[in-house]
């Protein structure tokens, strides 16, 4: 694939931006709107359990004004049953079949519960949802999620909100190598270089929330992470040089004057 034509497609839908924004943790609605604008994102995820989409001047209105699409998520669900019910409510409320599936296994780490996640994914695919599951960085689980019909896989770099970056780059590479659906790095991004690294490893996109919303200057961090995603993607397509133990001069010695 060339740098010039580089579409990002999920479930047949083309997106110009490879950055997906989470809406949690912003100090002000206005700041959220500004971060969305400067990030260039087209897809924004919203916790279904925390939002009433009918409320005036609330989150749903702000997102409408920004002209972005909503990707509802099932944050706060601990069982497949709750996640499936929540996805149904989200479909009705936001009029979309797309769902970012989260089934959390533990309060303290917010890590995914693998068996519940797989079960919920299977049920939601059967109900006609376009399922984007938040998963651990386990390549086997990612494969299983793809096999049950998920439209993408969203492995974590490290726990939600931890800002610890990508702790196991090898697993992310293994997931990317085997995936037949887009791989979106979800959770753990703390700063722009984390997003760039995800893209260099071959992820198709990055989802980011806390790194932007809880930064001292969220708007500036939204610009930075956008640049990180774009830079990382370009670097991936450009093809990096191999790592060498010893130096190799960048200019050839040929043609130098013989003194």
């Amino acid at each position: 694939m060339t740098v010039a034509s580089d579409p990002f497609v999920i479930a047949g839908r083309e997106l110009a931006s490879r950055l997906i924004l989470g809406t949690g943790g912003f100090p002000r609605m206005e700041t959220l709107a500004e971060a969305i604008r400067v990030s260039g994102t087209e897809l924004v995820t919203v916790a279904m359990r925390r939002v009433d989409p009918r409320s005036p001047h609330s989150l749903a209105d702000v997102l409408r004004e920004c002209g972005v699409d909503v990707l509802p998520n099932t944050a706060g669900c601990f069982t497949a049953r709750d996640a499936v019910l929540t996805a149904g409510l989200a479909r009705e409320a936001f009029e979309t079949d797309w769902i970012k599936l989260e089934v959390i296994g533990d309060e303290r780490t917010l890590l995914p519960d693998a068996p519940e996640l797989l079960s919920a994914a299977e049920q939601l695919v059967a109900q006609g949802f376009t399922v984007l599951p938040y998963t651990t960085d386990d390549p086997v689980l990612a494969r299983r999620l793809e096999d049950v019909g998920c439209a993408a896989v969203m492995p974590l770099g490290s726990p939600i909100g931890s800002g610890m970056g990508i702790r196991n780059t090898y697993n992310i590479q293994l997931i990317v190598e085997r995936a037949g659906v887009p791989v979106i790095l979800d959770a753990g991004v703390g700063t722009a270089s984390d997003a760039a690294l995800a893209m260099e490893l071959g992820c198709d996109a990055v989802l980011c929330a806390s790194a932007i919303s809880r930064a001292q200057d969220p708007e500036a961090m939204a610009r930075a992470i956008r640049a990180g995603v774009e830079g990382g993607r370009l670097a991936r397509l450009a093809g990096r040089i191999p790592r060498r133990l010893h130096a190799e001069a960048s200019s050839s010695f040929e043609g130098l004057a013989e003194l």
């Binding site: 609605m29 925390r50 939002v51 409320s55 001047h57 200057d217």
Partner: protein, 390 residues
């Protein structure tokens, strides 16, 4: 309580024409009424419910401009500090003229961290306050527990904010209503305003549901989260206020006061002691529209976090489970003062988490604006959201 018919209101009212009609009888509307009367204006205040019974009655009453300071909101921090500075005299004057206590307590605040992650976040908050020149002090866990022994032994770090105090908003509203009434304001709880009457971009009064009218040259909208939906106001003059739901618990220590002296703030909530054995544990922040349901999740999260830091909370009795709606704006700052679109239309709304803190200053600023002075900073101009509303 069903709203009174307009005819009843008018029959009990000396005049049907006032200098100012205030829509909304919460802490801010009442403060404006009191202060406007002091400047000699004739004032009529209408509220569809009881006075101070909605958002104000649920507020915990923290006066916390330093704890709440946010690097992205410098004008709001300055506004909060100025209002906090006025609080002692405001409370004193109110108690003097009414003989009623307002529960103002110069108790100070501790912001506490329960683990390494929260402690690091607190260090960042401390650095920010140092930069802003706000007085805060870093306390070791042992120092914090020496002044508040009910804090958990697992405490990791605390910040002392000596200037952040508390007041009892319910007592405050009762005293404000008495003060405003004694000063000559006509207060009408249980009366809804159907619409503001505006012709040729100028206010001429308000209309009640029965069609009766009260004439006035100026209207102050102080209707909290309901301010954005008041009828009769053209779109270009509206303020985008949204309800932000907050659940809380009112707790009581059967053995009396003593568990906590200071306000305790932590990630996910706060505990405010009233000084008599009663405590407010709050509050969730939820974007749920006008929903006011009490939820198991909301209460559990508050109790879970509070008992980790103050284990004795679990020994308290539950008196009440209030749910309130904060009036939020896109930039978290209030809308204060004159509309530039409609003559005679003023706003005192959008105070979000800070309505009780900002009540004294809101009263003073609006009273000045009502008598023709321009005193409100541009950061709080009601028309700054024109692009959002349109």
């Amino acid at each position: 309580m069903p709203a009174k018919r307009g005819a009843d209101v008018l029959s009990h009212t000396q005049h049907t024409s006032y200098d100012v009609v205030i829509v909304g009888g919460g802490a801010c509307g009442l403060a404006v009424a009191w202060r406007a009367r002091a400047r000699g204006l004739s004032v009529c205040l209408l509220d569809r419910g009881a006075l101070g019974a909605a958002t104000s009655a649920v507020a915990a009453g923290m006066l916390a401009p330093v704890s709440e300071a946010d690097a992205g909101e410098p004008a709001l921090v300055a506004l909060g500090l100025e209002s906090a500075r006025r609080w002692p005299a405001f409370a004193g004057e109110l108690e003097d003229v009414t003989g009623m206590p307002v529960g103002y307590r110069a108790c100070g605040t501790l912001v506490v961290a329960r683990d390494r992650d929260e402690a690091e976040a607190l260090e960042r908050e401390l650095a920010l306050r140092d930069r802003l020149g706000l007085e805060t002090r870093r306390l070791l866990p042992s120092e914090a527990r020496a002044v508040e022994p009910a804090l958990a032994p697992t405490l990791r770090l605390a910040l002392e904010v000596p200037s952040d105090h508390a007041v009892d908003p319910r007592a405050l509203c009762s005293a404000l209503a008495t003060a405003a009434e004694r000063a000559g304001a006509a207060l009408h709880p249980g009366v809804e305003v159907a619409r503001v009457i505006i012709a040729d971009a100028r206010v001429s009064g308000v209309e009640l549901p029965g069609g009766e009218r009260i004439a006035c040259a100026q209207v102050v909208v102080a209707a909290g989260p309901w301010s954005g939906a008041l009828e009769g106001i053209p779109t270009a003059a509206r303020v985008p206020v949204r309800p932000v739901k907050g659940q809380s618990l009112r707790l009581r220590d059967p053995s009396g006061p003593g568990l906590l002296e200071r306000v305790i703030r932590f990630e996910g909530g706060y505990l405010v002691p009233r000084g008599d054995g009663r405590y407010v544990l709050g509050a969730t922040v939820e974007e749920r529209g006008f929903d006011t349901a009490v939820t198991a999740l909301g209460l559990w999260e508050l109790l879970r976090d509070a008992q980790e830091l103050v284990p004795g909370v679990l020994e308290l009795e539950v008196e009440e489970l209030p749910v309130g709606l904060r009036p939020g704006t896109p930039d978290n700052a209030p809308a204060l003062g004159r509309s530039t679109v409609v003559e005679g239309l003023l706003w005192a709304t959008g105070h979000h988490r800070n309505g009780i803190l900002l009540a004294p200053l809101t009263g003073d600023l609006l009273a000045a604006e009502l008598t023709g002075e321009a005193v409100v900073a541009p950061a709080f101009a009601p028309d700054r959201f024109a692009a959002v509303v349109a």
